[in-house]
Every structure is written in structure tokens, then in C-alpha cells.
């Protein structure tokens, strides 16, 4: 059983606070593995924004992303003894975050009962429709940008959880194939294949947008 150190600076006794924490991540991990929550707190601070961004890009919802980020770090804390240092700590954390996100997307799909639509037809989004962006005055442009964003999010929503993770990791976070494969837990070939099909679906749904913007 790990000894739990106090959760807040206010509660920390002298000598166990963040003041004497190492700045080296490896040392922080080692101390966190020994049950020192102050060290884990420092690790969370180092990686929370990236973890949140990964999950937010998959869920497109701030509250859900916040909760799932908490779940990710909680799982990381519980599994710290399993971290062998064979990959970087962030890669390991990244994998937990993507698994948490994919699980959440799958649960959401089951709860909503709506299957992922693989048949978005280009004619559903006519270039001349009111949702197509137009080069007009700035206030109107802002409104249109919101509409474009809504359309993009709707298109991403139709992707399977696995395809969604891969496309967001690649396009929004700029991750390499290798990093994506490691995070999602699949082969490089699978990453490339998923990217291929995810892009095809998005291009079909959003072609009018990037051709006119």
C-alpha cells in the first residue's frame, strides 16, 4: 500500500512539498512510484495540457475531456508500478489517454445507438448551400467560421473511434506514424490504413469547405 502524501501545498508538511522535488522527470517518476503524490502532482503539471488536448480533440467537448483527463491520470497513478521505462513516460501516458478516449467514444456510440455513418455523400453538402463559407464582412465571417467548425465536428463525429483517434493525432497534434501506432496500440500499417480511410470520409464530407476557403 502506498503512503499518500497530502494533496495540497497547504496540507503538506515541511520537507515533503514541491520545493524539494527534482526537476528531472525520471526522478519524479521514481518518487511517484514510491507513493509520493507531490512528485506525481509535478508530473501531472508537466503533461496535463497535452493529455487534455489529445482527449479534447477526440471528444470535442471540454467537460468530457476534463473528466477523461482526470481518469487518465488516475489510471496512470494506479498503474505506475507497471511503467518499465521502455518508452517515454509521456508515450505511456499518451497510450492511456487514447485508450480512455476510444473507450469513451465506444460507450457513447452504444448509448446513442447511432451507428457511424460511412456514407456521407458529397451532395449532402452542396458548395452553394448556406453552410458554405463566403468571403464577406468579418462579423459574418465569424458566424460562418462557427458553422464550418460545426460541420467539421459533425463529420469527425461520423468516424469510428479508432479512425477519429488516428486522424486527430496526425492532423491536429502532428504526431508521427510511430507515435500514433504506439499510442493507439496498433501497427504502422494499420495507422496508415486508418488515416487513408478517415481522410477519404472527411474529404467527401468537407471537400466544398477546403476548396472554397
Amino acid at each position: 500500500m502506498r503512503e499518500v502524501t497530502p494533496a495540497t501545498d497547504h496540507d503538506r508538511p515541511a520537507g515533503s512539498g514541491s520545493d524539494d522535488l527534482p526537476t528531472d522527470e525520471t526522478a519524479l517518476i521514481e518518487r511517484a512510484r514510491r507513493g509520493e503524490t507531490a512528485a506525481f502532482d509535478a508530473l501531472v503539471t508537466l503533461h496535463r495540457q497535452k493529455v487534455y488536448a489529445t482527449i479534447y480533440n477526440a471528444t470535442r467537448n471540454e467537460e468530457d475531456a476534463w473528466d477523461l483527463s482526470q481518469e487518465t491520470f488516475l489510471k496512470a497513478w494506479k498503474s505506475l508500478h507497471l511503467f518499465r521505462g521502455q518508452s517515454s513516460f509521456f508515450t505511456w501516458l499518451y497510450r492511456i489517454a487514447t485508450n480512455v478516449s476510444i473507450d469513451w467514444l465506444r460507450r457513447k456510440k452504444i448509448q446513442s445507438g447511432t451507428p457511424f455513418d460511412d456514407t456521407i455523400l458529397p451532395e449532402s453538402f452542396e458548395p452553394g448551400s448556406h453552410t458554405a463559407p463566403r468571403r464577406e464582412a468579418t462579423p459574418r465571417r465569424q458566424i460562418e467560421n462557427r458553422e464550418i467548425r460545426r460541420r467539421i465536428e459533425a463529420a469527425i463525429e461520423t468516424l469510428s473511434p479508432e479512425h477519429r483517434m488516428v486522424i486527430t493525432l496526425r492532423e491536429l497534434e502532428g504526431e508521427s506514424y510511430e507515435a500514433i501506432a504506439e499510442a493507439v496500440g496498433c501497427s504502422l500499417g494499420t495507422v496508415m490504413s486508418r488515416l487513408f480511410y478517415a481522410r477519404k470520409k472527411l474529404q467527401l464530407a468537407l471537400k466544398d469547405l477546403y476548396e472554397t476557403v
Binding site: 503524490t37 496535463r48 480533440n57 487513408f196 472527411l202 477546403y210
Partner: protein
């Protein structure tokens, strides 16, 4: 050999080595090459569109995020901690009382029963001696306090160093011996 979509995706993303890229492009006729170049431009445009319109917001309330997380960790650790042993637990008392009672009864019985010879009746119990020397199976005919609904049996095996007291008909286990 990679499936086409894998190689094509890697080519679109510029992830092929120069040799692999040249080999891939050499396999395309002019029309296919033009289509592939258009596709590469479309892929880049799609990526630009996604990045431009889907910015990632900063984590809201980052300090509270850490605080909340550490609170949850502390709560889980407390919940997972084993409860301190309580010698006065009613359940344990009942268990030990029952066990003690059974042991006393079995020892008493073992002291009374003659373990050799043919089956026979006594005023207190009916005992049947099985083949093993020193073993017995007995039904207790009288007990204190007498309750006709309760039947008591005892089995003892000398070789196994085992005595079992078997009670039938109890509606409940008495709280105290």
C-alpha cells in the same frame, strides 16, 4: 509489400524514403500522377482546414485539475486501505462461540464413545463403528437443552485426526454458547 493505401498515405504525408517515393511515382502513369498530386494537395488542404478551425483550448482550471485529481487519489487510497481488525466484531464472536461449542461437544462425545465392537445403543447416543479402528459415527439421542426438532450427529476419524459435529434442524445459530 504494403497495401496500396498504406504506401499511398505515406506518400501523401511525405513519409516515404526518397527511394520508396521514386518507386511509387514510377508506377504511376501521367494521369494517375496528376490525380495523386491533386490528392496530395487536397490532403494538405484538409489538414489546414482541421487545424485552422479546430484549435485546442487550454485546460480549464489547471490548478483545480491537480487538486481534484490528488483528492481522488487520496480517497481511493483510503478506500483501498484494509479495515483495522476489530476483536469485538459480533460476527467473529458468533463464529468462535459456535466453533468452541462444537469442539467441546465433540471432545465430550469422543471421551464417551467406545470405538470398537458392534453397533450399540446407549441412553445418550446411538453409535455405529465403521471399519476403521478408532473411528465412529454416532447420532446423539439426548442433548441439553432437549429440542425434538434438532438432530445431532458426530463423526470421528482417528486416522485423520478429525471430529465433525453435525446439527440438523437449527433455525438459527445461538449468539452465545
Amino acid at each position: 509489400m504494403k497495401p496500396f493505401e498504406e504506401t499511398y498515405t505515406a506518400w501523401l504525408d511525405g513519409e516515404l524514403s526518397p527511394e520508396e517515393a521514386r518507386a511509387f511515382e514510377a508506377g504511376l502513369d501521367p494521369r494517375q500522377r496528376a490525380e495523386a498530386e491533386a490528392e496530395r494537395a487536397a490532403t494538405r488542404a484538409l489538414g489546414d482546414l482541421l487545424r485552422h478551425h479546430l484549435p485546442t483550448p487550454p485546460l480549464p482550471n489547471p490548478d483545480f485539475f491537480n487538486h481534484s485529481l490528488l483528492e481522488r487519489i487520496a480517497a481511493e487510497e483510503r478506500a483501498a486501505a484494509p479495515a483495522p481488525a476489530r476483536s469485538g466484531s459480533p460476527f467473529l464472536r458468533l463464529f468462535w462461540a459456535t466453533l468452541s461449542g462444537a469442539a467441546v461437544a465433540a471432545i465430550t462425545l469422543a471421551a464417551v464413545v467406545v470405538t470398537t465392537g458392534a453397533p450399540r445403543m446407549t441412553t445418550d447416543f446411538y453409535a455405529v463403528t465403521p471399519p476403521g479402528e478408532g473411528d465412529y459415527y454416532a447420532e446423539i439421542l439426548e442433548s441439553e437443552p432437549g429440542q425434538p426438532t434438532i438432530s445431532a450427529y458426530a463423526f470421528h476419524s482417528s486416522s485423520e485426526q478429525l471430529t465433525v459435529l453435525w446439527l440438523d434442524g437449527l433455525d438459527y445459530l445461538p449468539a452465545e454458547p
